[in-house]
Symmetry: C2
Subunit: 162 residues, 2 copies
DNA sequence: TACATTTGTATAACCAGTTATATATTTTAT
DNA sequence: ATAAAATATATAACTGGTTATACAAATGTA
């Protein structure tokens, strides 16, 4: 536990803020990492690279379903990736509403190097979780519970039974 | 584990995004909760209430040190709390750079009710972590490790040793 | 005492997400 | 065949954080 950290001291009351704080820390530090190795990608592009590498072609809805972020979030990420030339879009022949998204040639060229960087990222996570082998499972269980009943609904229920 | 969730499938590579996703989920659902019980406060005001209740008077620097958020973040939170009349500021007599921040009378009036709501929030967290008693400790250990050496530094190191 | 450094606060610009709303296309149902 | 509903995408407005920069007040030092 971090010394003199009020959020840790207040236990359950500080949990949300600690998750936000940690996720921000990871976000900015990852950006910092990419910058210092001189590569022009953003942290969460990794997900899109992996998804499109695996599936070749997906549309926005499919991506947003799979990563469970809102579709406007995905649109923003993809627009940036398109602008940098890592993703190309063409409209679907049989359903003109859909964009078919694929990795560009530039993306495939960059992949071997990027994968080295990502390997180092993964190693960092493994090393930080070394002493907490249950963390990933616990996180999954928390996600699952909020999926079954939202934070809001649970809290309203707890309010009534007090 | 959430079914068909790409972020869970890719294990360590999806961790940062899952933390962000969970923290956002908690943030928006907490807002939703406050809205549905009809109270005009924001999620992280809870922290400030607790801090100022415990210490009576603090300045911005002291708050930002204790919760370990950047001072601009604290300034924004406090400005909103001032605007809603929950916090009052007066400048320090002996060091005119400092703002002395305290809870207002309105804040103390609201506290009993707010504390009921917060109790329900805490109960929700406890119930969701019920099956994962090690989660809080694990989170603390992760925070501690990144405090010792940043994500970026660790990852650069891992890159070199590959 | 004056000057350099440090400290506390403020602000600007940015970023990654959200919800709410709009629009065009496709699908379904009568 | 057409009207209604559903779906895919786009965009606007907002939020809660960040870093970088600025500046005035306080402190330390020559």
């Amino acid at each position: 536990m971090i010394k003199n950290d009020f959020l840790s001291e207040i236990k359950y009351a500080g949990l949300t803020s600690r998750l936000k704080r940690l996720s921000d820390l990871l976000l900015y530090s990852t950006k910092d990492f990419y910058k210092s190795v001189g590569v022009d990608i953003e942290p969460n592009w990794h997900l899109i690279f992996l998804l499109l590498k695996e599936h070749e072609a997906l549309n926005i809805k499919e991506i947003s379903d799979r990563v469970q972020l809102s579709h406007p979030a995905i649109i923003k990420i993809l627009n940036n990736m398109k602008q940098k030339g890592y993703v190309v879009a063409k409209t679907d022949d049989i359903d003109s509403r859909k964009q078919i998204l694929t990795l560009s040639a530039k993306a495939y060229d960059a992949l071997p190097l990027l994968e080295e960087y990502w390997e180092a990222c993964i190693q960092t996570m493994k090393e930080v979780l070394e002493d907490s082998p249950e963390f990933l499972t616990a996180l999954g269980s928390i996600e699952q519970k909020f999926k079954e009943s939202s934070y809001k609904d649970r809290t309203l229920r707890n309010l009534k039974t007090n």
